[in-house]
Subunit: 385 residues, 4 copies
């Protein structure tokens, strides 16, 4: 029986983290708002009182739902009649476990940014907490929300590519190519092992690349060999990683993630090749899926067009040719979460087609980082997750 | 003195049109919601009672703010203490005038879809109504909301292109390339002179192309020569137009809009060439602006990057490489409207930098359509607007 | 009975024009040499003796086949037992007629650069001379030599596009965007009415664009309306042209050519749209043909791949993915000419599939320029060719 | 003192291999012919007499210079007064050593296709033979002939990229994605260890990718870790390889080559990232070099434009915007060879700027293949070349 049986309408949402100067917090707020499924009503946006209050005012939270302590927030909201039904956790990685635990144990659904945790140990603890809770756990591997990524996955699943042989995935950026400015908050925690965890580039974007490959292909990884680097002087975490991949069933692949690849901007790109055909999806042209049959010709399938199937269709808002982008893809994760949360109100099963990354994906992502670090320490020897 | 002096927080918004099966209504709702500046509280989404009610329920409107008659809505909302401060008009073109007039005369701000009206006579009447009102009038020529369109405009204004010589603009689509299915509501009214007005492709997308060229270059059009066609059997309005343009100061150009260009999807594209450099912006790659100096090399300036200036920056939500798209650009028009409406509460001037298409742009757009039709009837002779 | 009956092996070739500092002459030489069908053995590369000799030495011509006077060359070569069988004419436009006439009347085949002549009167005289001669006349509208242009034409001819509605063709450059340096020989004659003829951009590149549209679609032009400009101060010929096109059968189009479009480089591009599908070919991606069916998806057909047909195949030298380019396309015209010249040795018909631009295409091209100039003088009124 | 002192004019060239049905032989012939530096006068195009004769006739060789035995050809041509000055070797890999040895020991210059040999032992023997000879040895790593590859190299050498951190290079194809047809000669020998050597994809295209990375960056490889696969059933050589690279000075990289990547066509692509900027060159857009500074904006430098430097300029034939391609790049290697061979006639030094791949590059390429195979056998452990 759900704590929230009987509730209707927009889902009351809280947020932990995401105060002034944060980036991903505002993304979550837009994503939650875009389709009207959620209403942000409470938040511990910062642990610093003045900043928490200023941030809350900025996003329009009432004073009595503004917190500085996430535990207090969890306790009080759980008691309120109109308390939050879900919480978005947008803190640095090391806080995901302690924050999520407080809400999960009170039956409040959790929507958590990735990676799941800074360490594999934390990730496993969080998985246990999620398992013990009735609440849902949604991980915002947002790239799985792009319609043409869904289309790619559907085509792989339908056998259009034949047996998969190759997976080439990369996620280059350049924003950490130099020593960051001291006031760059985003850079600050992401390059700090205490807050980011064991992985630098591997944790922040390698997990996205890995998750995307897994999501589209459905293949299990058997082993990886990783060569990690820290190019920028003084950097304590990897800022570049080269990884060779061996999947079950014989598929092989390569993964490259980098925070120092000059002139690149979140240039996530996935190519999958089977014995019949391949697909290519690029984040800088998210509305197109290239389908590459053996011998050609390449065709360019676009979101919203007749050539796209129902899996892409259900996360599509507008006809072809009007570019949807990052916020819409992110909002698709929130919309999927909303569908599952609404179903949970009555104990109904999650509606068919609803797809979102789960705690299991989160554990696997951190296991990927952990394996990369272990492999690299062993001179890029093969390790399993 | 503003009717809404003393109001704070989100702007209470009404909507006329945009019921079930409509496309642009839902775009306006997302755009209004995305940044949290507006709250949709009332609507006459359809003139058919059952449909109006069903549509209102779907978007979460309370029953007592659900109308079937826009005049009644205008009257009642104007009397309510928490009545709407602005209304979005998303009806077919021929209704823009009668609807807008009702709200304007009661001091309620109007956000109106384009083209401003189906005929130049209606457009001029609406302009008078807007002039006579204290309320603001915002026209959603949404392409002007794209950050890289703002960047293009800023570069032209700064003289980076030198004296402008050439303007090449096109807006091809293919969705009306065949006789539409009978239940295609979007196609139905857009190909009906009674509801769409004098222009088919020219009205629906030619006005966008023309507005974009005007917005970016700032040049006044002196004359045009237009060759209009109706390719699809039975079509009563133009579905393709070729237009030659003569701007003040000697710049020349071409405009092409089409609803029958097979394999194209809202492929709006603007190229401007000056005696020093040029720029190119394409709707299918909205995050990039190509800058093309005489002799090269071409550079690709991206939204959110260091090379973009403050005009693009103020309508940017997220760092480079996370694609923003159609909804964000549309929401930028709403955000600009919100800034102006908020200023109007106290009579403060519109904040610096706030830019949105106005009633004057709307009249000019309909005059463009009118000129195209007149020219085409005179065998593509030159006419002035 | 052919003058050259009994000849075998490579065709002995002469050249008029193309001395030091020329551009197109060296292109013709490479094109003639590339497949081994021709052997350059004689030339009047310049009318200045020292330059003629120096140029001849540079390209390896023997002294006794080096001329300064093309009439003398024609006379002597016609008498020699191993005299030239064909001549390439690569002079400025105004010389095409006097030079070609001398060779044609002696039965020597002519391969002539475009446009056919500087004036329509000259073009017609040349057509008469060609008609009166047994010799072949080949015009190097080289873009028709690109394999994927042949593919486009084959697909149109096969009905894959359905009934053609729209033709959009453009050829922008920027190399004449400023007043050229005084020693720029290429610019010098091309901007001089006495040598270039009635058209500037229209003659030099507009003819290419027009020819390409005609070649691919096979449609006859019924009328055009042209707005010509001379943007660069002091320029005596058009350096930009906007042209609206009306083809037989109802197809409509636009043509834009420019020598002042900053940042563009021979960016010839053709789009044709029918009621079933369209095609797009771009000179900067010459190995690909985009096929754009109504409603999508777009497919990218590449030279040498299984999806390309026999018309492209016969002018293809190497498997897909090894880019062929400008010289190969130009050499294809020479190879076609060689096939026709070889057939002429015995009076055999031109082999099936051999395709090259003829004197008729040349007259039509100059008529296009003439029509553009006439229309522009009449304020862009419609004129026929 | 050169064997060929006193010779002038075109270089008399012989060819071994390249008979009917061969692909690369005809490429060499076009490349040799394109600039007029060489004249093909002798050949042992096949070891089968009828085929040798038919092939020779097809390419216009005189009967008395048509051979079936390359040793006899070497002996006789060395004695002829007008004997060949250079020979092109275009046989399968295993024949490079025996053929080249015969010509080298008679002082005849060798232009040899890549890879240098099928095995590292053979490669070393050939290096000794070359060292012992006065003749030149030129290896046709033809991608180094592309002007924009030269431009990339010049920019790296000039320090524009700063210290190099990353090298990402790939060469995917799909032509061996299935079991080839029995009559596919190209596939037949390339998948046969006896003729191709130790490497399949690594030998045929991996060597190109590796050579390109080395040529542009100038970096020495310290170690590699390679995971090789044979995806197609029955294949005896690798048809796909994933390689991690460690260069001197700390740069790291990845190399991928594949003959089974569906929908790709010789899609060689190199990206190099330094601490200031990066570059990207792609074989399917060979006329452009993307320069990617840290933080952007990306600029697109084109062949023949003002932004390109002298190294690209000296291997450029035609102004910007007229696409040069594969044959021209290949011909550039031949032109460089011609410059060196001409210098050798008098013992003059090779002219400044002349650059071509040498026997040392060839040995290194085979060592790369050898290292890939060794590493893969050791489960992708690190090995040195």
């Amino acid at each position: 029986m759900s704590r929230f049986e009987g509730r209707t309408g927009p889902i009351r949402l809280g947020m932990v983290g995401g105060g002034q100067g944060a980036m991903i917090g505002s993304v979550h707020r837009v994503a939650a708002r875009l389709d009207g499924h959620f209403q942000l009503v409470a938040g511990a946006l910062s642990s610093t009182p003045e900043k928490a209050e200023a941030s809350a005012r900025e996003v329009g939270l009432p004073e009595d739902r503004t917190y500085t302590d996430f535990t207090e927030m969890a306790k009080r909201e759980a008691r309120l009649k109109d308390g939050i039904e879900a919480v978005s956790i947008v803190t640095p990685n090391h806080m995901h476990l302690p924050v999520a635990r407080e809400f999960l144990k009170r039956g409040i659904h959790v929507i958590c940014d990735k990676p799941l945790a800074g360490t594999l140990a934390d990730a496993k603890k969080l998985a246990k907490a999620a398992e013990a809770s009735d609440a849902l756990f949604v991980l915002t591997h947002n790239y799985t929300g792009y319609p043409m990524v869904r289309e790619a996955r559907a085509r792989v699943a339908a056998g259009e590519l034949g047996a998969i042989r190759l997976v080439q995935v990369e996620y280059p950026q350049d924003w950490l190519g130099d020593v960051p400015a001291p006031d760059n908050k985003q850079a600050d925690w992401r390059t700090d092992p205490a807050r980011s965890g064991a992985g630098g580039a591997t944790g922040d974007i390698g997990t996205h690349a890995y998750n995307l490959a897994r999501f589209v292909t459905g293949l299990q990884l058997e082993a990886l060999a990783a060569d990690l680097q820290s190019f920028v002087p003084g950097r304590r975490l990897d800022d570049n990683a080269h990884v060779m991949l061996r999947f079950e069933g014989g598929a092989r692949g390569m993964l490259w993630c980098s925070q120092v690849a000059s002139g690149t901007e979140n240039a996530l790109r996935l190519r999958v090749f089977g014995d019949k055909a391949g697909i290519e999806w690029r984040h800088d042209e998210p509305e197109r899926l290239r389908v590459t049959p053996m011998g050609g010709p390449v065709s360019i399938v676009t979101r919203g067009s007749a050539a796209t199937g129902p899996d892409a269709g259900r996360v599509t808002r507008i006809p072809a040719g009007h570019p949807e982008g990052f916020f819409e893809a992110f909002a698709n994760i929130y919309a999927e979460a909303a569908a599952a949360i609404s179903a949970a109100r009555t104990g109904a099963p999650v509606p068919a087609g609803v797809t979102f990354p789960t705690i299991a994906d989160g554990v696997e992502g951190v296991a990927f980082v952990d394996a990369c670090v272990r492999s690299s320490k062993r001179n890029a020897g093969w390790v399993t997750l």
